[in-house]
């Protein structure tokens, strides 16, 4: 039996050991079971453990298995004392047979032979049973492995399916999102164009009102400007005018002006004389501040 253990344990431990360095905790748990506990379980366990290691992308911390590795070496020894008791029993039986005298030697030999035969028989039966059990275990293991593999594959497949479904769902969601964004963008563009059109129309209307307003102001001031003789072509004088909402001129400031005193007097007078200034058709066109440039043509 120990040979069997060793026979099976070494290749298993050897093959699993490379991996089991990373999963030492599980191996230790398996070895703490009784010596009768079939090591195959361990082997199966190793497989079980082995499987997830491949799948899991992220291994457990590497330090833990490294610490448990020496325990694994110790754990291989305990099965040896369990081999001793049968040897003690054989020695006692041999001593009893010598003390029973030679006469019973034949009987004893026969008995021994029978016993040996029996033992051989039992051993053979046991080995056969053991073999059967091992085969059964092997089968079971294979089945389980297959089942496991199948389960794993199924899980993989399911996972892949799920991933595929998820990918598809994601793609669909993405497409939907993009479509939505496109639609929103398009709607926004349309809204903006509409707004711009409205704005354009409003601006055009405003420009019309503005032109009219400007013309009214210009005509009013021109009508009130008594041009002195010195206001000839080449003259350029700017007035900064502030009007109250009713059109009353509240402030007139002279900007740059290349005209004489009479010109300055005349343009300022023209603006105050035009007070109250005409109001625009659309009150929104009203401008509180005016920049009036006197630039007479000859």
């Amino acid at each position: 039996m120990p040979g069997f253990f060793k026979e099976h344990l070494r290749p298993l431990a050897g093959s699993a050991g490379l991996h089991l360095l990373l999963v030492g905790a599980l191996v230790l748990a398996a070895l703490r079971w009784t010596s009768q506990q079939p090591p195959v379980e361990l082997a199966i366990q190793g497989y079980v453990v082995d499987g997830p290691v491949k799948v899991r992308p992220l291994p457990e911390p590497r330090e833990a298995p490294a610490e448990q590795a020496p325990q694994q070496v110790e754990a291989v020894k305990p099965p040896e004392p369990a081999v001793e008791p049968p040897e003690d029993r054989r020695a006692e039986e041999a001593a009893a047979a010598e003390r029973a005298a030679a006469q019973r030697r034949e009987q004893q030999l026969a008995q021994e032979r029978a016993t040996q035969q029996r033992e051989a028989q039992v051993a053979r039966e046991k080995a056969a049973a053991e073999q059967r059990r091992a085969k059964e275990a092997e089968r079971k293991r294979a089945e389980e492995a297959a089942a496991k593999r199948k389960a794993t594959e199924e899980a993989e497949r399911k996972k892949a399916e799920t991933a595929e479904a998820k990918r598809k769902a994601d793609e669909k969601a993405q497409a939907e999102r993009e479509a939505k964004v496109r639609a929103e963008r398009e709607a926004d563009l349309q809204r903006r164009l509409a707004a711009e059109e409205e704005e354009g129309a409003a601006a055009a209307a405003r420009a019309g009102v503005m032109d009219e307003y400007r013309l009214m102001l210009v005509q009013t001031i021109e009508r009130n400007w008594s041009r002195p003789p010195s206001a000839r072509a080449g003259l350029e004088c700017t007035l900064y005018v502030t009007q109250a909402p009713g059109g009353s001129v509240v402030d007139v400031k002279l900007g740059t002006c290349n005209g004489d005193q009479a010109v300055r007097e005349s343009i300022t007078t023209a603006v105050y004389k035009s007070s109250p200034l005409p109001a625009p058709r659309d009150p929104r066109a009203f401008e509180r501040r005016l920049e009036i440039v006197f630039r007479p043509t000859e």
Binding site: L193, E196, E197, E199, G200, A201, A202, A203, A204, R206, A207, M210, Y213, R214, L217, V218, I221, E222, R223, N224, W225, S226, R227, P228, P229, S230, A231, Y240, V241, V252, D260, Q261, A262, V263, E265, S266, I267, T268, T269, A270, Y272, K273, E287, R288, R289, L290, E291, I292, V293, F294, R295, P296, T297
Partner: protein, 440 residues
């Protein structure tokens, strides 16, 4: 959809541009920019309130003299007294709202006060529209000098509001004729520019013609037939002292002073034909300028004294020519516009000529710009003659016919208006406007 979209976009762009302009214009100073290129030549409304310390309507009514001067200039429209609701005599008493309602732009107020045994005239000019005080002065005067003081006030107001020195304190010379032949009486008269205060400086039973002011405004040269034939005289106005400077055979006519006052240009016929000569007054040196077979007459000096303008019919009808006073003395024709241009008179700045031009069937006063050769006709009667520029160039005085008699009239040199000078001196002719007597 496509064209609509394109239209939308172009419109949107236009709107954006408009918006940008609006926004760009916004932050600086004024938001709305206006360009004023036209004005009116209408007379500027002004209120000249009767001065305190004076009886209204008297001969020396300062406000009346000032208002009349300003009206005569054609650039101002004085408010009628009957429309005045108050009689402020100082700036503090002016309620500008009242005068705005009366549509006056400016207001002149003042008062006459005794100043020892003399008088002092205080006046103020205010802008009714802006409320600004533009002038405030105190002028010494006398009872007899109140009219002169009034003209001085008119000069100051005119200059402050037009940028042109007033010429209301200057005088005019002209010839008045009374009676019928053979019992006619000729008088050379010097009066204020408004026609008031006429003084006769020469009286004769024979014709007096072509008075011409010396550049300093102190002397008159004129043609007198007092000795039955024409002769040119120069007379000191202040003293009445006079001298005959040219009494050569034939015609002695059309004297004109050189800008430096040392020479006279004359029209003489001593060589058988009417030609232009210059006469050095100090040396009596006579220099012939033209020698054309045609009639050359009515000379006028250019402002630089280097050439003469004159009338000649050498081209078949009267036109104005210019001759340089150098060795060559070649004459060039100046006027081309109408079939008749005569009697050139230079503007104070030398840039224009006033002349008589045959325009649409009438002899009228025109002003020609020498640089552009553009001729502007100022008057519209049938027989206007003898133009003479005011020393500020703003007006031209000329002779016209009214009811079969000669009369004087003013025209603004821009042609905006004309105005008769009322006179009770009968048939008047040959006006000449005095230069400024003090340097400006």
């Amino acid at each position: 959809m496509q064209p609509t979209l394109a239209t939308l976009k172009s419109r949107a762009v236009a709107a954006l541009i408009a918006l940008v302009f609006l926004l760009v214009a916004a932050p600086g100073h004024a938001q709305l920019r206006l360009d004023i290129t036209q004005g009116v030549r209408d007379a500027v409304p002004i209120a000249v309130v009767p001065f305190g310390g004076q009886a209204e309507g008297g001969a020396n009514d300062i406000a009346a003299v000032v208002a009349n001067d300003l009206r005569m200039s054609g650039r101002f429209a004085p408010l009628e007294r009957r429309d005045m609701v108050s009689r402020p005599t100082s700036g503090a008493e002016i309620r500008v709202e009242d005068w705005r309602l009366l549509k006056s732009d400016f207001i002149v107020v003042g008062r006459v006060e005794p100043d020892g045994d003399r008088l002092a005239v205080t006046f103020e000019l205010h802008n009714v529209r802006t409320g600004a005080s533009l002038l405030a002065q105190r002028l010494p005067s006398t009872e007899k000098g109140l009219r002169a003081t009034a003209h001085r006030i008119a000069d100051l107001v005119f200059e402050r509001l037009t940028g042109i020195p007033g010429a209301f304190s200057t005088r005019i010379a002209y010839v008045a004729v009374d009676g019928k032949p053979p019992a006619q009486r000729y008088r050379l008269i010097v009066a204020d520019a408004d026609g008031f205060s006429p003084r006769t400086v020469l009286e004769s039973r024979e014709p007096i013609m072509s008075p011409a002011w010396s550049p300093d405004g102190q002397k008159l040269a004129y043609v007198s037939f007092e000795s039955k034939v024409s002769a040119v005289y120069v007379q000191q106005l202040a003293t009445g002292q006079r001298s005959r400077v040219s009494a050569r055979a034939g015609i002695n006519g059309a004297p004109a002073w050189s800008p430096d006052g040392r020479k006279l240009a004359l029209t003489l016929s001593r060589d058988g034909n009417l030609d232009i000569y210059t006469l050095d007054l100090a040396t009596q040196t006579l220099t012939r300028v033209t020698s054309d077979e045609a009639i050359d007459t009515e000379a006028e000096w250019s402002k630089d004294g280097q050439s003469l303008y004159f009338t000649s019919d050498r081209a078949g009808n009267a036109q104005v020519y210019q001759v340089r006073l150098d060795e060559a003395r070649r004459a060039e024709r100046v006027t081309f516009t109408n079939g008749y241009n005569a009697r050139p008179r230079s503007s104070p700045d030398g840039k224009q000529l006033a002349l008589v031009t045959l325009d649409r069937g009438g002899y009228r006063i025109g002003v020609m710009d020498l640089a552009s050769r553009n001729l502007r006709v100022l008057t519209n009667a049938r027989q206007d003659e003898s133009p003479s520029f005011a020393p500020n160039g703003a007006l031209v005085i000329y002779a016209t016919r009214e009811g079969g008699r000669g009369a004087l009239a003013f025209a603004s040199s821009d042609g905006a208006f004309q105005q008769r000078l009322s006179s009770d001196q009968g048939d008047v002719r040959d006006p000449a406007w005095q230069p400024f007597t003090t340097p400006r």
